[in-house]
Structures are given as structure tokens and as C-alpha cells.
């Protein structure tokens, strides 16, 4: 079922009459039955973040119309998730970043840098970034993106801490602080909020 915009008295250039929403045929619209993954959030246009999605989250993920997933853990992707990706035409980019507790954290800068290039490529959008809990590895990648977007460090850390909460790591924040974004300067910020 597909509904188009209706009931708008005055149609001017602000109205996007092409907007549609797909309501899954197997559910009543009264149900609150979409289950976003743990720590799900929208980062910017076409960029989402979360913890590890499981089968309960697949219906929700389908509403995002994803083109790609960036997976930041070394463990193989579970079969059920791989099947979901295949049947929905979603590309998987895996970066095997180990999870270590402080003081042995060592975020590999090269992996984050390469992942950031994939995030920045609008051909990969809409895109979901996830690790295991959506706190540390995902938080570092999003934090580096925020630096590219010229957010001041205290705001980058504030966002990181909102997701990491009691598990926030000074070492992750130091990594983001020291991450050099100058090599990205030739890239356009096509993901910017200005896209709206």
C-alpha cells in the first residue's frame, strides 16, 4: 500500500508532493511494531547508526531503504543478517576493528579513515554504521565525521557520550581529538544538513 500526499490546501514550492510511505501489508497501522536496533539514530541525511541489528529489527531496517552497511567488528556477519542483506540488495563493508577495554584500546586509524571515505560517498547512501553496541567503534567513526563537519570537540564528545553513557572512554575521545581530517579536505561534504 502506498499513500501519496493529500489534504494539503495550498500547494506551493515547499510541498513535496512526491513523498510516499509504504505501510507493510501484513500489519495494521495501529500497531507499534517497528523495532529499531539498539542505539539507533539518524546521523545526517542518508546516514544512520546503531548497535548490532538482529532479525527483530529487519522490518524496521527495510523502511530505511538501505544501500549499504558499514560493520566495524572482526567477527563474521551472521548468516541471518547476510541473507537479509542479499534479499534487500544491501552492500556490506566490513572493517574488523577489535574491541578492547581501556587501557588497551587501540583504534586503528587507517580503518576509520577508510570507513569514513565510504560514509562520505553518497553512492553508498542510505547507509547504516554499526558495531556491537553502537557505542565505541561506531561512536568514533561518527565523531570523526563530525570533525569533518567542523563541530567543536565538546559537541563531538557530548554526542559520543550520549550513546556511550556510563561506558564512555577517554581513549576514544582522545582518538577523535587527534584524528587528522586534513586529508579529506578535497572531498565535498555532500552529506551535509544543507542537502535538505
Amino acid at each position: 500500500m502506498c499513500r501519496t500526499l493529500e489534504g494539503v490546501a495550498t500547494v506551493d514550492h515547499h510541498v513535496d508532493v512526491s513523498s510516499t510511505v509504504v505501510v507493510p501489508a501484513n500489519s495494521s497501522s495501529d500497531d507499534l511494531n517497528l523495532i529499531p536496533p539498539l542505539n539507533f539514530a539518524m546521523v545526517d541525511n542518508g546516514i544512520f547508526r546503531s548497535g548490532f541489528p538482529d532479525s527483530a529489527n529487519f522490518s524496521f531496517l527495510q523502511t530505511l531503504n538501505l544501500s549499504s552497511i558499514i560493520y566495524l567488528c572482526p567477527e563474521p556477519y551472521p548468516e541471518g543478517n547476510t541473507e537479509f542483506l542479499k534479499s534487500n540488495g544491501i552492500k556490506l563493508f566490513q572493517f574488523g576493528i577489535e574491541s578492547h577495554k581501556e587501557p588497551f584500546v587501540n583504534i586503528p586509524e587507517d580503518a576509520i579513515r577508510e570507513a569514513l571515505r565510504i560514509v562520505l560517498d553518497a553512492r553508498n547512501h542510505p547507509l547504516l554504521i554499526h558495531c556491537n553496541r553502537g557505542k565505541h567503534r561506531t561512536g568514533c567513526l561518527v565523531g570523526c565525521l563530525r570533525k569533518l563537519q567542523r563541530w567543536c570537540l565538546s559537541s563531538v564528545f557530548d554526542e559520543y557520550q550520549r550513546f556511550a553513557a556510563a561506558k564512555a572512554r577517554v581513549s576514544d575521545q582522545r582518538f577523535m581529538e587527534l584524528f587528522d581530517v586534513s586529508s579529506f579536505k578535497h572531498l565535498p561534504m555532500s552529506f551535509s544538513c544543507l542537502k535538505n
Copy 2:
């Protein structure tokens, strides 16, 4: 200064070649000098949330190219903020919802319902929702929007708590749980993530 998309070897229908980003002329691109308001986040396409913005946040807010602000407090809007709105052509919708501590919280359902109608109207996008701290009143409005988007309640509460943190209120969560979205059923979800 305005940069357009460049350096993309293959141009296909995924590439948005019209994307641009404006770098303020008075700053070096090396600076991390954009300061989002407290508790700033993207809610969905064209919808943002935050705490009360002050003059330090104005440069950041300009990058969002806002069309409207929904302000959820009864206090008059400060003169500096009103000036900022005027000079940037931003409409202000004010809903004077009082701030009460538990157990005297009484969120006025009519105000949230009317605010939600404004959020849902794409002619008001891009739009920023804010109250004082971006936790309770803003959290309730966003939570009601999530119910319309058919998020399960535990996910609605999880998002609310991510912003409210130690200040989370059971009464706010009860309000969101009891909020009846059936009167919105005729409205399209033009703000859905599917817009991407």
C-alpha cells in the same frame, strides 16, 4: 565560498551532483568552530531537536537552512534569538508548555497534538524543535512522532532516555504511551526515512 561535488569518477543515478556546502567566509576550514546547541540531534529528514540555542549556536544553525522553529516554553523568546530568526527568514511556532517537576507534571495533550501537526507539515521543513534543555518537552513531542512512525514503545522510551538521562521522567513516558495517534492516520508520513 561554495563547493560542488567533484572527484567522482563514475556518475550514476546515485550521485547527487547538485549537493553543495557553504563554508563561512570568515573562518579557515581547519577550525572546529561550529557549535550545535545542547542535546542537538537529527530526528528525521528535515526535523532536528535541541536545547535552547544561544548566540554561540547561530553559525551552526545557519548551516541547517531552517524554515521554522517550534519552541515549547511559555517564556518570551529572547530578543537576540528573535533577531536571528528575522534575519534568516525563520518562522517561530511557540507552544507555552510549563515546566513542572514530578509528580506535578501535566503535559498539555492539545499543545503536543498541534505541535505535531506543524512537525508533520513538510512546508515547515527544515524545522528545529526545542525547549529549554531538549529533554522533557522536546522528548515528549519527538516520542509522539515516533509512535506515528510505528516505533515500539521500548524504542521510543530508549530514545527519550538517551536525551533525558538521569532526568528521565516516568510521567513523560506515560504521556507518550497514552498519546492517541489515531487522529493522525489520514496524514501522510512525508517525513519518513523513506524520503531518502
